[in-house]
Symmetry: C2
Subunit: 369 residues, 2 copies
């Protein structure tokens, strides 16, 4: 995996990340294709909007339709009709957040499927095997994500497991024929809850193992915003500067601005897509709800400053009407708009870093969003 820094402004940076399926300009936003589709839009639309990389959820695809099924259908790219880069998470976070029951052991986690109650086991080896079957371009190590708040003792025990599992994932990545043949990259994940010494220790151990990129997990799991921002500023400089830095699950534009300022490169979040389906839309003048009565006979586009398909073809009046009528097209047009907003936001943010106007960019958007 290639990774070149193109421009810097303070700790913020613009980089080029190269995988076997194309190059990605960072800071980048990865739409979430949980079950193999970014909800309400097609992969052609994602390309047109400017998406360069998607995230698929290992936990979900493992349970349904099954990693072996996807492998037999030619792998995740062919399955979902997307020839650009795909990153798969390891399933660790979903085991923690979705499964009805879980029992953590030294070798991995026993958990109950949220779909049918069946029992499953995933550990580092299983997570790597599943991600190899899927055939993603970037795989993630299997981690344990402590809830907030956690005691120091719990967080330390959990970190010990996360570190051990990371080492085991790294071993697999060096030996697995499937992994090597597919040239899959592997990212490590920092845990340690809100405890800075644990974060420091964990990251040091990850760096010792040597990964293609480094992620920070266990943020935005319920802690106050201030604490989250503190952790972002604290962890970023601990991660190697010559590798991509990925902040897991963060996507509120206000948090993204802080994380980019701290030096993070990669982001994923369901916010733009979920908000879209609920009728909350990002515009150059702030967030709006498409339900508002004032839009009933409004012939203007959602955001006159926007170049998305939705804004080029439909009025606020129509978008309000199909949202209130619960039409499927509403979710699609709203999702297209919000994702295009995100891609434009990220593109302009990169531009501001190159042109040394990132501070103004950050200030401007913080006051709007």
């Amino acid at each position: 995996m290639r990774f070149n820094i193109i421009a810097k402004y303070g700790d913020a940076r613009v980089c080029l990340l190269g995988t076997r399926r194309g190059s990605i300009k960072t800071p980048t936003f990865m739409p979430v294709a949980t079950l193999g589709t970014v909800k309400a839009v097609s992969t052609d639309e994602l390309k047109e909007m400017g998406a360069e990389i998607l995230l698929c959820n290992t936990y979900h695809l493992y349970l349904r339709p099954g990693a072996d099924t996807i492998a037999s259908l030619g792998g995740i790219h062919k399955f979902i009709n997307w020839d650009r880069t795909i990153l798969t998470d390891s399933g660790g976070f979903q085991v923690y957040s979705l499964s009805a029951l879980r029992k953590v052991e030294e070798g991995g986690v026993h958990f109950k499927s949220h779909l049918d109650g069946s029992m499953h086991f995933i550990g580092p080896k299983e997570a790597m095997a599943i991600q190899s079957l899927l055939g993603s371009d970037i795989a993630m190590v299997f981690d344990e994500c402590p809830p907030y708040p956690s005691s120091y003792e719990y967080a330390e025990q959990s970190l010990r497991l996360t570190t051990k599992w990371a080492a085991q994932c790294k071993e697999v990545s060096k030996k697995s024929q499937d992994f090597l043949e597919q040239r899959q990259a592997l990212f490590g994940i920092s845990q340690g809850s809100v405890f800075k010494d644990l974060r420091e220790r964990g990251i040091e151990e990850l760096i010792g193992m040597g990964f293609d990129g480094y992620a920070v997990g266990g943020v935005s799991v319920g802690e106050p915003k201030e604490l989250m921002h503190e952790l972002i500023y604290f962890t970023a400089p601990l991660l190697p500067a010559d590798k991509p830095r990925y902040l897991l699950g963060i996507g509120d534009p206000r948090d993204v601005l802080i994380a980019v300022e701290a030096g993070f490169d990669m982001f994923d979040c369901v916010m733009p897509t979920r908000n879209a389906r609920n009728g909350t839309l990002f515009t150059s003048r702030g967030r709006i709800s498409i339900k508002r009565t004032e839009f009933k006979s409004d012939s203007a586009p959602l955001d006159p400053a926007c170049d998305c398909y939705t804004c080029r073809h439909y009025s606020r009046g129509y978008l309000r009407h199909i949202f209130l009528s619960k039409e499927i097209l509403s979710m699609r047009l709203n999702t297209i708009h919000n994702l295009r907003f995100y891609f434009n936001f990220f593109r302009n943010m990169r531009k501001s870093i190159v042109e040394s106007t990132f501070s103004e960019f950050k200030k401007q958007w913080e006051s709007i969003l």
Copy 2:
């Protein structure tokens, strides 16, 4: 409105119907855009599939968002982003089938909205005014649709009203500035339940008024299939040969074959779109349910003989997976497939009429579908 017969095979015919927004090859299928969107697909997709004309429901659009709202947003074409032909029904059928309570009077129908229980009144004048506000290319007269079974007495009384209202709609169409300026065509509707003498009398009276086209309503409202087919064969030759003949609400391909044989030209139905959302798909080898376990690891397209977007890009295995996962994309890809199947079916049917092979075409498809 122009109307030219291009080819005939028995009573079946291929015609060109010209409106101010383009020409339509008949027999034609009109997808139903109830509330201003054909559920799950975009107007760009409809164009790519080959749609030349859409049907919008006056009753639904009158209640939500309101005809005046649509007029203030530039009319139905601009509102829904469709520059080809639009036919609006008169609302008569929905008043009969959807409203919680209705009271028929000489001047029209009082009814309760199925949305919020509010009371409304639509008669011939109101139906024409609403359709003028919408600005459709083809408007329909306001009719009363008797249920099945109906007594002869009820059907006769109902037909008397339908005829009277048709005459009033025709009057409006000759005098209304809006109607004339928009060059809206107006179709009459035959009612009379299953009673042939009533059908005959009604149609004679409609022809006396002189419409741009003639529709047959009140079929497929619960009567046995044989009776429905008998009515189709009975009414078609009563309608003027030099005007388009429209069979309301019929769209099962087996019924379409019979109606085309009888001499009908225009069809609308929610069958292909509704079936798609329920996972029932039309293929060159018959109807299939995408849920079937055998499709789990099937890498073949839905229908290898199909040229639709879905069949060109996705496997049965993927389509089954996203259907079971209740993904929005599933409804869209299935709808694209079913509508493309319909447009191909109609195109090949026209070809068979031109090439005098319609009998074989009909026999072949009757055995498949």
